[in-house]
């Protein structure tokens, strides 16, 4: 790669298209990436990584990486993030290979399961270690998948926020709001994948296409990074005479923006507009006026680009960062574990000036220290020590593998009796059975 060499010797890059790779991680990531390849996303390269050899074999995307074979024997992580994490740490070199020589790594994954939740933070850290910028695009589970998965997803999301430069999440539950009752499960997941693909497409467009009013990765980072809040993503396109009005209407009715309500409480909004050569100033003005009106209190970064293939159409992508209110409390509760986390983070040191890419110049001095504030992964001290020992040498890694195997043998077989309500009609609320004691559903330990 000549560019890379150029950079290595410090020559100023004259004109350079950023190298972007989309990495699908875990079962959901695999399917999403396969869907993106089918739907013909261009200008990017793809890769997939999974712990499950069978699913990986069925996937048409190349290159493929099977990791954690020594721990899971290629049978998947079984929904346990700890196993997923151990698997990724065991084969971190193979994962790092995926991110080599990339400028931007878009990590597509579904949180809540084992591989995605466990390995995503590890892969993100490894990719950053290779000098790439990492944006996570994470699907969060449906409510019906149960409180446990939702909690796993939230915990993993927090870890991913620490590890990646930016995280954009697409809660699947909100997709359910888009569909009617008769939609098949297959279609539901297709729509979810469509949204993930749309997210990736919007991101790559932002970075690769030269705009009239330019938005580049630096702007993107300014909006999504260091906020300790998750970002939401919505995009819409419309054609015809009233396209400027329609596109705004579509955006505002998107469930990801909670019917436009999210905009009102957004802290920062990145709006990227793509139109054909026939895009008029009036249209841009009209759209931006409405967006600005909806988010008066937030910082709005706007971009507009011309794409000849978009003639007659108008496409709009919004990335909205929520005001982080509740996270202050969450950060407080995670403080105790900060000590365990600190050495983990510094395991992948971040050098000040990694390379001379123009894309990144804006961000480097602004790497916020606050990135490390969000609650770290929940690790007991011995787990943390294990992790450190593992990263120190291969002998420890072998010990670790054995332990992980042991852990996989233990299945959670606790059957919660519903006692007096065992034979009555269950009271269901948002997919939870309220007859089960609250403290068990919430996982509050009584020691």
């Amino acid at each position: 790669m000549t560019e890379a060499e150029n950079i290595a010797v410090g020559l100023p890059p004259v004109h350079r298209v950023p190298v972007i790779r989309v990495v699908g991680l875990g079962g959901a990531g695999l399917q999403a990436v396969a869907h993106m390849v089918q739907s013909g996303l261009t200008g990017l390269t793809f890769a997939v990584a999974h712990t499950d050899a069978r699913q990986l074999a069925q996937c048409a995307v190349e290159p493929k990486v099977l990791f954690g074979g020594g721990i899971t024997r290629g049978l998947g992580a079984g929904g346990d993030p700890d196993v997923g994490r151990a698997a990724a740490e065991a084969d971190v070199e193979a994962l790092r290979e995926l991110a080599r020589d990339q400028d931007l790594v878009i990590l597509v994954t579904g949180l809540g399961g084992g591989t995605g939740s466990g390995a995503a933070p590890v892969l993100a850290r490894a990719a950053r270690d290779c000098g790439a910028l990492v944006v996570g695009v994470a699907a969060l589970p449906f409510d019906f998948e149960g409180q446990r998965r939702i909690q796993q997803a939230q915990q993993s999301l927090r870890q991913l926020k620490c590890a990646a430069d930016a995280v954009i999440c697409l809660p699947n539950q909100k997709i359910a709001g888009l569909l009617d009752d008769t939609t098949t499960l297959l279609d539901t997941f297709r729509v979810a994948n469509d949204h993930l693909a749309e997210g990736v497409r919007g991101l790559s467009r932002l970075v690769t296409q030269e705009g009239l009013i330019n938005v580049n990765f630096a702007d993107l980072c300014r909006v999504v990074r260091g906020r300790q809040a998750e970002s939401s993503f919505a995009s819409a396109s419309a054609a015809g005479e009233h396209r400027s009005r329609e596109v705004v209407q579509k955006l505002f009715s998107s469930p990801f923006l909670e019917g436009g309500n999210l905009l009102a409480e957004a802290e920062a909004v990145l709006a990227s507009l793509v139109g054909g050569p026939d895009l008029t100033l009036r249209e841009v003005k009209h759209v931006m006026e409405q967006i600005n009106r909806a988010c008066e209190n937030s910082q709005v970064v706007m971009g507009a680009a011309i794409d000849p293939s978009c003639t007659g159409r108008l496409a709009m992508t919004l990335i909205v960062t929520r005001r982080s209110t509740s996270d202050a409390a969450a950060a407080g509760e995670g403080k105790e574990q900060a000590e365990a986390e600190a050495p983990l983070v510094s395991e992948f040191p971040i050098e000040g000036g990694r390379n001379g890419l123009t894309l990144k110049e804006g961000n480097e001095p602004a790497r916020p220290a606050s990135r490390f504030v969000p609650p770290p992964p929940k690790l007991s001290p011995e787990q943390a020590q294990q992790l450190l020992a593992n990263q120190a040498g291969t002998g420890a890694a072998r010990r670790r593998q054995k332990q992980a195997k042991l852990r996989q043998g233990m299945l959670p077989l606790e059957v919660v009796s519903k006692g007096r309500f065992a034979r009555s009609e269950p009271t269901l609320y948002r997919g939870e059975d309220l007859d089960t004691p609250t403290y068990i559903r919430r996982g509050v330990p009584l020691n």
Binding site: S417, R420, F421, E425, T427, P437, T438, Y439, V444, L446
Partner: protein, 408 residues
């Protein structure tokens, strides 16, 4: 009805923990006095609905007999409180264009618009329990109390409809009828409780009444004096007991006793590390139970229940209109510190509702558990007053027939 002067009104609540019959006497001036209460421990009810008809009928008989004895009357008919997870409330709007040339709204127009609002789309197996009319809207002008005689092109009205599954509503009615008692009307328990604990000023300000029963939690929100929202959550005190029995590994009976004796809705700083010794049948100490665990389990369950109610009110957008705050009633209102917990959840002033607006056996009746029973009597008294106002049986029969013919 040999005694023409005073009318006897009986409210019967078949609850999950107790069956309660309240006897009220309506004086000629419309003053209501409570003269008797009968209670029996309920054995055939889960989550507010009858699961064992035999046991339920026995308990009803016991409660009615006790009430009869206390009030020294013979009970022939009751106002029956109903609840259950199947009961739903929603708002519907009816429209009617004024056809007359001079655009004056007549009484017929008002009837038509109410009829339109009543024409609602509910499942065929459901039965409408209450239809509560809100204020009229004439050409977009809201808050019209009496539109007859006004000018307008279009009249609209909102109604709040409470409905439930017919078969499940029939079960308690059949149980009561098997005792040769008539059911005058069925009333949603939440609405009955709210009638007992609220003053007109509170209703006008906007208030939420939560009846924390043993089997279910009923809630009713008033805004501008009108019921805007009702709901039932089939979670109640029984769930707290069940959680405790599971979490503390003890029997249901002992869990219930622990809940009443040591329960609290919030975990205090002094609870940590404290233990309660429980003794076995012969009085020897058997084992000890961690007080913090007990209160933590209770607190989580009650907090969750209140949160679900709060979420529901937020979804319908009423939480900001509850200027008078929240009133709690039902057995759950007795849990120490429950008001404090509810204040945290709702961010509104919370107090335990008191049934003060009624005379009679005040000291016995001013308990949160009796709110529903008293409310049922109060509901009955309104019905009686309405009937008196509407005229004798002849007019009543006529109006009933015409309503049936209209299919409303």
């Amino acid at each position: 009805m040999f005694d023409k002067s005073n009318k006897i009104i009986v409210g019967l609540e078949i609850g999950t923990s107790k069956v309660c019959a309240v006897v009220g006497e309506l004086g000629q001036e419309g003053n209501l006095r409570i003269t008797g209460v009968g209670q029996a421990k309920s054995r055939g009810v889960r989550k507010g609905e009858i699961v064992d008809t035999g046991a339920a009928v026995e308990d009803i008989r016991a409660a009615i007999a006790e009430a009869e004895q206390m009030a020294d009357v013979e009970i022939r008919s009751v106002y029956l409180g109903v609840t259950g997870g199947h009961i739903r409330g929603f708002n519907n709007r009816g429209r009617h264009a004024i056809p007359s040339a001079d655009r004056e709204i007549t009484a017929d127009d008002v009837q038509d618009v109410v009829k339109n609002a009543r024409a609602i789309n509910i499942p065929a197996e459901n039965h409408v329990i209450h239809v509560i009319r809100h204020h009229f809207i004439v050409d977009g002008q809201e808050g019209v109390l009496q539109p007859v005689g006004m000018l307008g092109a279009q009249i609209e009205v909102d109604v709040h409809v409470v409905h439930g599954v017919t078969n499940r509503l029939q079960n308690p009615i059949r149980a009561v009828k098997s005792l040769q008692l008539d059911v005058e009307d069925i009333v949603f328990n939440g609405i009955a409780s709210s009638l007992a604990v609220l003053t007109p000023e509170e209703k006008e300000l906007g208030v939420l009444v939560i009846d924390l029963g043993a089997g279910v939690t009923n809630y009713v929100a008033y805004v501008n004096g009108i019921i805007k929202h009702t709901g039932v959550l089939a979670v109640g005190g029984d769930h707290v007991t069940n959680d405790l029995a599971y979490g503390l590994k003890t029997s249901m009976g002992r869990a219930e006793a622990l809940k009443i004796e040591h329960g609290s809705a919030v975990v205090g700083p002094g609870d940590k590390g404290q233990t309660i010794a429980i003794s076995n049948d012969v009085g020897l100490p058997e084992r000890s139970i961690n007080l913090e665990h007990l209160r933590r389990i209770m607190s989580l369950r009650i907090e969750e229940t209140l949160q679900i109610v709060a979420e529901d009110l937020e979804t319908v957008g009423l939480i900001d209109y509850l200027r008078a705050g929240v009133r709690l009633c039902g057995g759950g209102a007795r849990v120490p510190n429950v008001s404090r917990l509810a204040e945290q959840v709702f961010g509104l002033p919370v107090s335990v509702g008191r049934t003060k607006s009624i005379s009679g056996l005040v000291s016995t009746l001013d308990q949160p558990e009796f709110a529903t029973g008293i409310g049922l009597v109060k509901f009955g008294s309104f019905q009686v007053e309405k009937r008196v106002a509407r005229g004798g049986w002849r007019t009543r029969l006529k109006s009933t027939l015409s309503r049936m013919l209209q299919g409303a």
